[in-house]
């Protein structure tokens, strides 16, 4: 162990040294944040302040046309009265303006009873716009005065026309307001910087190894793939972090410098922003940066591992880059906040977390979820990468041989077993489709959304069965089950069901944020007729999900990786598909149960039937929650008493043990 650790350190230091000697990468990582950001921020501010200065110095022309000069002279009086206070600088000139661009024209017509003033300006010209707004202030002031005079003439009080005064008050402090407005764009800026900081070293360290022909040399070393990948991953993450920290420092530094000089300019006047409150968030900001760097490094490694040259790496990464940038803009959307669901989506959660940090309304539970989720994703990706890295297809040929799916259908032999690459790709595509259809259709109609989802889950395995000419019996276990095993399967399911109840209750207690209100969430759905409801909510998932998770995923992995790994992998993906932190573990456990039953009974059908019963059950507890609460209160409770927990654990354990024993034992008799 100690040796392994030092080996990792040696490899890590080698990668660091290698990256540091690549001048081009360094330029992007160091010079860009150190020079470009301050130059941009200070440059833009300088231009803005110059514009403001010019506006203050400039005198704007008002060309007027009026038959009665008296109104104009009254306007002039008004102007003289308020010009100091409002910092106005106007010049009233009669006649038509020759160059209309830089000023404003005032036409006064007194044909009607109420005189009409027309202020013409050019909205595309900044000077003209300023002139217009200044003139408007003068005109408004004149109007107010005229009104006052009329009131006086009528013998009415000044406040005759103001029955009450309206005042708006911002409850948030200036600090919070500023944080909110900065926080939205901070995520995008930071994520983009980290992405750049991660991508270029990754290309250098992974693709560069192929491009420079040093990969084979690396493989001759007595080092495991995991150590190689991990050292590369850590080295690149470190650089991504460093470049992010540099950009935070340079952005923060130049903003601080600017605000400092502004405060000096208006001596005595402070901006009312308390910077020290931002410092207290630095630790969490740092953690977020590190975790994002880990994730983005892992993601870029995913794509660079297949690339043979820098150009290829760029090609693969460009769409990913666009997706990441798009996801990082989540914080700019007004109503999107960090919550139970958004905390599970990588990148989006980081972007929202930063917004919450800056607006100072961060929930620490959600922050923890975000951090853990991103960390888990990174670890998973690195683990998969280490597996891929030993595949010689990736190393010596093009990486697409990890997928049978990319072959022509006529090249695929009947009875092939899908490769891990195919399965993960199918699951990822399906998950994305479900997410998108959720946004596109599910929001409008829950029923339509559910139907489309179920059709997709059912369609994916059917598509693969057709395209890859899969064997229904070998992979999907479409066999007759042994009748004796049905009882054992039911027993096991009952046991697992008891255990999931405890697990759910426990999880809901710990993560109340991500629960949501189930009844209101499905209100629309419950208005449809019963037969349709049962088909969509119970029957279709039972068939589709069993075919996909137990048939395709478990079945293929069972033949490739062995039943135990296949059970674990397919159940984890099954859990992940329910896209809820609370549901993840219970569903995964249920998946484990169904895949075990499929494995031991040699048939997919018992699992389907039990899945259907399970769905039926949860559907009825939702629809008739009140009635069921009276009959069997334990089913609808969100919190379990100690006694109930113990009883449930006992029943669960006994049923699981018996179920497993029967399922195992009968097989032995057969052999």
């Amino acid at each position: 162990m100690n040796n392994n650790k030092s080996l990792l350190k040696i490899l890590f230091l080698k990668e660091i040294r290698d990256i540091l000697r690549d001048k081009k990468t360094l330029v992007i990582m160091v010079l860009v944040p150190l020079l470009l950001y301050p130059a941009m921020i200070i440059g833009i501010t300088l231009i803005l302040s110059q514009m403001e200065n010019r506006q203050m110095e400039n005198t704007y022309q008002v060309s007027y046309q009026a038959k009665d000069e008296s109104i104009v002279s009254k306007l002039r009086d008004s102007y003289e009265e308020i010009k100091e206070e409002e910092e106005l600088s106007l010049q009233f000139l009669p006649g038509e303006q020759e160059e209309r661009e830089g000023g404003v024209t005032l036409e006064i017509s007194e044909e009607k009873e109420t005189p009409e003033m027309v202020l013409s300006y050019n909205a595309t010209n900044q000077d003209s716009v300023t002139a217009h707004s200044q003139l408007k202030k003068v005109v408004e002031h004149y109007k107010e005065k005229a009104l006052e005079k009329r009131l006086e003439d009528e013998g009415l009080a000044k406040d005759f026309l103001t029955p009450f005064v309206i005042q708006s008050k911002n409850e948030a402090t200036d600090t919070e307001t500023m944080g909110f407005s900065i926080g939205g764009s901070l995520g995008m800026l930071l994520i983009t910087t980290i992405m750049m900081g991660a991508f270029y070293p990754t290309v250098d360290v992974l693709t560069g190894e192929k491009e420079r022909g040093t990969l084979e040399t690396l493989l001759t070393l007595p080092v495991s793939n995991f150590q190689m990948i991990l050292s590369k991953f850590l080295a690149v993450s470190l650089f991504a972090c460093a470049s992010a920290v540099l950009s935070i420092l340079s952005i923060g530094g130049s903003l601080g410098f600017l605000l400092n000089s502004v405060e000096k300019m208006y001596e005595g006047e402070t901006l009312g922003i308390d910077f020290s409150s931002f410092f207290s968030f630095l630790p969490i900001l740092l953690i977020v940066v590190i975790i994002t760097a880990l994730l983005l490094t892992a993601v870029s490694m995913c794509f660079c591992i297949f690339a043979k040259s820098f150009k290829e790496a760029n090609n693969y990464f460009t769409p990913v880059m666009l997706i990441i940038m798009f996801a990082s803009m989540a914080s700019l959307l007004p109503s999107v906040e960090l919550g139970g669901k958004t905390a599970l989506i990588p990148i989006v959660n980081v972007s929202l977390l930063l917004k919450a940090v800056m607006a100072q309304n961060l929930s620490y539970t959600l922050a923890m979820i975000t951090i853990v989720v991103n960390f888990v994703y990174s670890i998973l990706i690195v683990w998969v990468l280490a597996k891929i890295y030993c595949s010689e297809n990736v190393l010596f040929q093009d990486g697409f041989q990890s997928f049978t799916l990319f072959e022509k259908r006529s090249d695929i032999k009947r009875g092939t077993i899908p490769k891990t690459g195919d399965l993960i790709l199918a699951a990822a595509v399906l998950l994305l489709l479900i997410l998108y259809s959720g946004i596109g259709i599910g929001v409008r109609s829950q029923m339509a959304g559910a139907v489309v989802n179920q059709c997709m889950i059912l369609g994916m395995p059917l598509l693969l069965i057709w395209y890859m000419k899969l064997d229904m019996k070998k992979i999907f276990s479409c066999n007759k089950p042994a009748k004796k095993k049905m009882l054992a399967a039911v027993l096991l399911y009952v046991g697992i069901f008891c255990l999931t109840m405890i697990l759910s209750a426990f999880l809901m207690k710990w993560m109340p944020e991500s629960t949501g209100n189930m009844e209101t969430a499905y209100e629309e759905l419950l208005t449809y007729p019963m037969v349709l409801l049962l088909t969509v909510a119970a029957l279709m998932p039972a068939i589709g999900e069993e075919l996909f998770f137990r048939g395709l995923l478990f079945g293929s992995w069972k033949l490739r990786l062995g039943p135990v790994k296949a059970m674990l992998l397919s159940s984890l993906i099954f859990g992940a598909f329910h896209m809820s932190l609370v549901k993840f573990l219970p569903t995964a456990l249920l998946g484990l149960c169904f895949s075990y039953i499929t494995w031991k009974s040699g048939s997919i059908y018992p699992g389907m039937v039990l899945h259907f019963i399970n769905n039926l059950f949860s559907f009825f507890t939702m629809k008739y929650s009140e009635e069921i609460a009276k009959l069997l209160p334990i089913l609808t409770k969100t919190e379990l008493a100690v006694g109930e927990t113990v009883v449930l654990i006992m029943i669960g354990a006994v049923c699981v043990v018996l179920g497993v024993l029967f399922l195992e034992g009968q097989k032995k008799q057969r052999l």
């Binding site: 040696i10 690549d22 040399t217 001759t220 080092v223 006529s410 090249d411």
Partner: protein
């Protein structure tokens, strides 16, 4: 030292039959059996595309065989099972094993020494030995991307030597080198042989193979078509040089196909 039984490697190739292109499996290495003893130099000869590199890659643990067994034994003739331990015992060199261009030779060798878990003093001593053995004093501290072809090849040999392995697998080590640089490498092989090391190497230079190999395996389309000492091969084919023997053996092998 090394014993290989029925080694196979399957690849896919695209075949055009009429209008349709089809993918077809073929054996790049087809049931190869070979053996190498301590203190032997074994030559692997064959035309381009015969499967030499694939065979050597499998022996170097860079590729996994589709079928067959590779047994590697340590000094006590115990079999080494662990892949990491196997890699430790093998020095592998081919045209594709390039060195990190941004490191100097000294830095690179130091890194290697650390990976092979050598002590710092041991590393320094070993580097001094190698530097004088290959007369690299002048460029040992230069970055590898600044070196000439011959200098780079010497550095590559040093890479294999650094860990002092028992078995060398060299894929065309003298390819593209001038006579003097090639001589350095041949001398190195002969010296290692004296030290009781095993060398398995592929080459296209038949005179070279004739001079130094104890035994030769000739491969054609993945299969071994002839094996034996150079003198045996020449006798069996009634040739005066290995070059003629090579032509005759392959001429016959092609005919049979």
């Amino acid at each position: 030292m090394l014993k290989v039984v029925n080694l196979c490697k399957e690849f896919e190739k695209t075949v055009k039959t009429g209008r349709k292109t089809k993918k077809q499996e073929f054996l790049a290495v087809d049931h190869v059996c070979l053996e190498a003893k301590r203190g032997e130099i074994i030559g692997v000869l064959g035309p381009n595309g015969a499967g030499k590199t694939t065979l050597l890659r499998m022996l170097g643990n860079l590729m996994t065989p589709t079928e067959g067994e590779i047994h590697l034994y340590d000094k006590e003739e115990k079999e080494i099972e662990d892949i990491i331990k196997r890699k430790e015992a093998i020095g592998y060199l081919s045209g594709n094993t390039k060195l990190y261009p941004r490191f100097s030779i000294r830095e690179y060798l130091t890194f290697l020494g650390q990976v092979y878990k050598m002590e710092q003093q041991e590393i320094e001593k070993r580097i001094e030995e190698l530097v004088s053995m290959f007369s690299m004093e002048e460029f040992v501290d230069n970055r590898i991307d600044k070196l000439s072809t011959g200098q780079t090849q010497r550095a590559s040999i040093c890479r294999c030597l650094m860990s002092d392995p028992d078995l060398y697998i060299l894929d065309e080590p003298t390819l593209g080198l001038d006579i003097l640089s090639a001589d350095t490498i041949i001398n190195f092989m002969l010296e290692q042989k004296k030290a009781g090391k095993t060398i398995l190497y592929s080459t296209h230079y038949l005179e070279e193979a004739e001079a130094i190999c104890d035994r030769i395996y000739m491969i054609c389309q993945g299969k071994i078509v002839a094996q034996g000492s150079p003198s045996y091969l020449m006798e069996a084919t009634n040739s005066e040089t290995l070059r003629t023997a090579f032509r005759r053996i392959y001429g016959k092998a092609m005919e049979n196909n």
